[in-house]
């Protein structure tokens, strides 16, 4: 890994570049600027994000994302829905890692009701959570290639993600929107054969990670495109509330799976939180690659000792959540996904604040894009990794 000095040098360089870009506006021999509208329909925005960039040549002087093209008003919609109905809604927030969206909401509701899912349900939840992380991040790895002009990785990503989605569908019935989590447990137990199949798939996924490492991460062109680009220092990352791999890539050793006590099975197995000191695009991508590997390890270990028993705690048939407020966040594929649920003892939440990871992760874009080149906008956006539904909710 690169030494700390070189990191500091690079950070300084990026600051200098940004300042130079700022200063150039005031220089007398100013070239005529150009405003480039990236999006709302643009292949690099995974949906409809629009970025307005003022350019000087190919250098970005100022950039501002404009979102809202996919605002679905989930916070308002939760206010007219009952708790079971909300889970069907929230797994559409980050549609690539949908099961992971349900878990923190259900945990928040369970916290208010002061019940806990039986151990088997916790185990299966964790397995599905990690599977959706794998499905989500492996697509990220492929998409990264596309953003940089390599077309093959994305097909490999789709190929291997398919196995994971088949597993999720086999267990929950929904490929993208499992809606499998219930207050007090799970809708159903795993179907027979799930464990063996998952083991096979996890091997394939590790193989996929190796392939990606050879095809993309080891490629010198890829490295020259990402190393030292879009450096986010630790303190800035914290101020903007970056989370997940973006924060860990800036050298912050923080993983909500490890650092809080949740009724989930993460702390029952042995795994590692990967960090990277550089804070650049490469670091973010690299941390994610390692996380996919780590997730396959977590799943493998969890499969070894799933406790037997029921998957549903005793809950009333009509769920009324007692009055109170609860905040639960989990380490989702994109970062910290949390729900602040305010209940008034009703059938549905009184107010739900959905703290989605991408919203914070993208709010740093105006800061980080200053002074980079147009092609770097794409790599930085790709490495920050956002899902439009997760920004706009």
């Amino acid at each position: 890994m690169t030494s700390t000095e070189s990191l500091i040098d690079r950070r300084q360089l990026s600051y200098i570049a940004a300042q130079a870009a700022d200063a150039r506006l005031n220089v007398e021999l100013e070239t005529e600027g150009m405003t480039l509208n990236i999006g709302p329909q643009h292949p690099a925005t995974h949906g409809t994000l629009r970025i307005i960039a003022r350019l000087d040549g190919e250098q970005v002087v100022w950039a501002e994302p404009s979102c809202g093209y996919m605002h679905r008003g989930y916070e308002k919609l939760t206010e007219v829905r009952t708790y079971p109905q909300v889970t069907a809604l929230v797994n559409r927030i980050d549609w690539l890692g949908s099961f992971a969206n349900e878990v923190p909401f259900i945990l928040a509701a369970e916290k208010l009701m002061e019940i806990e899912a039986p151990p088997r349900a916790q185990w299966i939840r964790t397995i599905l959570f990690e599977l959706s992380r794998i499905a989500n991040v492996s697509l990220f790895l492929g998409d990264l290639g596309v953003q940089m002009g390599a077309i093959t990785p994305v097909f490999m990503a789709f190929r291997d993600r398919e196995y994971v989605l088949n597993l999720i569908e086999g267990a929950t019935g929904g490929r993208f929107h499992p809606n499998f989590d219930r207050i007090g447990g799970l809708k159903d137990d795993l179907p027979a054969g799930f464990i063996d199949e998952t083991r096979v798939v996890m091997k394939k996924l590790r193989n996929f990670c190796d392939e990606m490492e050879n095809l993309l991460f080891g490629n010198e062109i890829f490295q020259s495109r990402t190393r030292g680009i879009g450096v986010i220092p630790k303190d800035v990352a914290m101020q903007y509330g970056l989370s997940g791999a973006n924060l860990r890539a800036s050298g912050v050793d923080w993983d909500l799976r490890r650092d809080q006590t949740l009724p989930m099975a993460w702390n029952k197995v042995d795994w590692k939180v990967w960090t990277h000191p550089d804070g650049d695009s490469y670091a973010r991508c690299w941390v994610r690659l390692q996380e996919v590997r780590e997730s396959t390890r977590i799943v493998d270990q969890l499969l070894d000792d799933i406790p037997s028993g029921p998957v549903m705690a005793k809950v009333p048939r009509i769920i009324k959540v007692p009055e109170g407020e609860a905040w639960v966040s989990t380490e989702n594929p994109l970062g910290e996904m949390g729900y602040y649920v305010v209940s008034k003892g009703d059938l549905g939440p009184f107010r739900t604040k959905i703290r989605s990871a991408s919203f914070n992760n993208i709010s740093i874009v105006p800061w980080v894009l200053k002074g980079v080149y147009v092609p770097d906008i794409i790599t930085i956006l790709a490495s920050l990794y956002f899902i439009l539904g997760d920004i706009d909710r």
Partner: protein
């Protein structure tokens, strides 16, 4: 081809017509083959899929279906585009491809034109396509296209130089700029007195070959040098506003140029249409048997496929550079290396 024509002693117009037809075949056939074999099939297989399978057996007619699809599409010109320039730009690109193929020899007598400054002409004409791309980008009245066109201009100019310098090594070694004579020099030559393989310059000019292929990759705007097109940033760059037939023209030109450059590279470095003359006891052009006029083009196509395989393989495997990195690479790595290559070649040429 030409041997037969000369024997029949056709009138001038008929010869001209046949040459034009031959040129069209020599441009479109490689283009179609490359698109089907590499773009449709090889790329798909490299991505664990089968590619088009519905049109014809194994999708072999897919290309015709695509052409039909493009011909049906509306020919859109942006409102604020410079109409005339916008419309001729694809043709400029395609014409440069046709002009290129004119100097490529396919056999001892199978050539369209055979003149002394063949290499010079080839290098000169290949940069015409830059003009087409630049005006396409400019005339589209689109910021993405403009960026793409400017990138293309900067990139293609940067890569013209290494390409020329790489070819100079070949010229020094062959002592001629006539492509036909370069073929002869490679096949009739010998390496350090051993003539079992002739003297294909890929062995003696390996550095030149690598630089030439890198420059070709950039010239063709194929990944890793496809910044002018860059789907994920510039949304196809200078091609953004083109549709229907005009887009098809760009598309054909892209792959036809890939084919023609592979042909040229095989002439310059792989011995062109020839096989080592020592195998058959030939020593000069005149002693080559007439059947080489039939076998020669087939050998050429084989070599072309080999080289385009490499071009496409790289294209499907690599991410792309950034524009400034590419310029740095061209000026700081390729140009010095090729200059050193020329120097060493010249010294060795004088020494031996």
């Amino acid at each position: 081809m030409n041997a037969a024509l000369l024997a029949a002693d056709l009138p001038y117009w008929a010869q001209a017509l046949l040459r034009v037809l031959g040129g069209v075949v020599a441009v479109l056939l490689p283009a179609g083959t490359i698109v089907y074999v590499f773009l449709f099939k090889m790329m798909s297989f490299m991505q664990s899929r089968l590619g088009p399978m519905e049109a014809g057996p194994y999708g072999s007619m897919q290309l015709f279906a695509e052409v039909g699809k493009w011909l049906q599409k509306e020919d859109i010109t942006p409102e604020r585009a410079d109409r005339f320039i916008f419309k001729i730009a694809p043709l400029v690109v395609l014409v440069s491809t046709f002009l290129l193929v004119a100097v490529v020899p396919f056999g001892p007598d199978a050539w369209f034109t055979n003149f002394e400054a063949g290499v010079f002409y080839m290098l000169a004409v290949s940069s015409v396509s830059v003009l087409g791309i630049l005006i396409a980008g400019w005339a589209s009245a689109n910021k993405y296209s403009l960026l793409g066109g400017l990138r293309a201009a900067g990139q293609l100019i940067a890569y013209e130089l290494p390409m020329v310098l790489a070819v100079i090594g070949v010229i020094i070694q062959a002592g001629t700029m006539n492509l036909q004579d370069i073929v002869l020099a490679q096949n009739a030559g010998s390496m350090f007195g051993w003539d079992g393989l002739g003297n294909p310059y890929i062995l003696t000019q390996f550095v030149g070959f690598i630089i030439f292929m890198i420059a070709v990759q950039a010239e063709l705007t194929q990944t890793p040098f496809d910044m002018p097109i860059a789907e994920s940033e510039l949304v196809s760059g200078y091609m953004t506003e083109y549709s229907g037939f005009r887009f098809l023209t760009f598309f054909i030109a892209e792959f036809a140029t890939a084919g023609v450059f592979s042909l040229i590279a095989s002439v310059l470095f792989l011995g062109g249409w020839g096989i080592p003359f020592a195998w058959f006891g030939w020593d000069t052009m005149d002693s080559v048997d007439n059947w080489m006029n039939v076998v020669g083009p087939l050998i050429m196509v084989t070599k072309m496929m080999l080289l385009s395989f490499i071009i496409m393989w790289v294209r499907f495997s690599y991410p792309r550079f950034r524009e400034d990195q590419l310029q740095r690479f061209a000026w700081k790595v390729l140009v010095p290396v090729s200059l050193v290559n020329i120097m060493i070649t010249a010294i060795l040429k004088v020494a031996f």
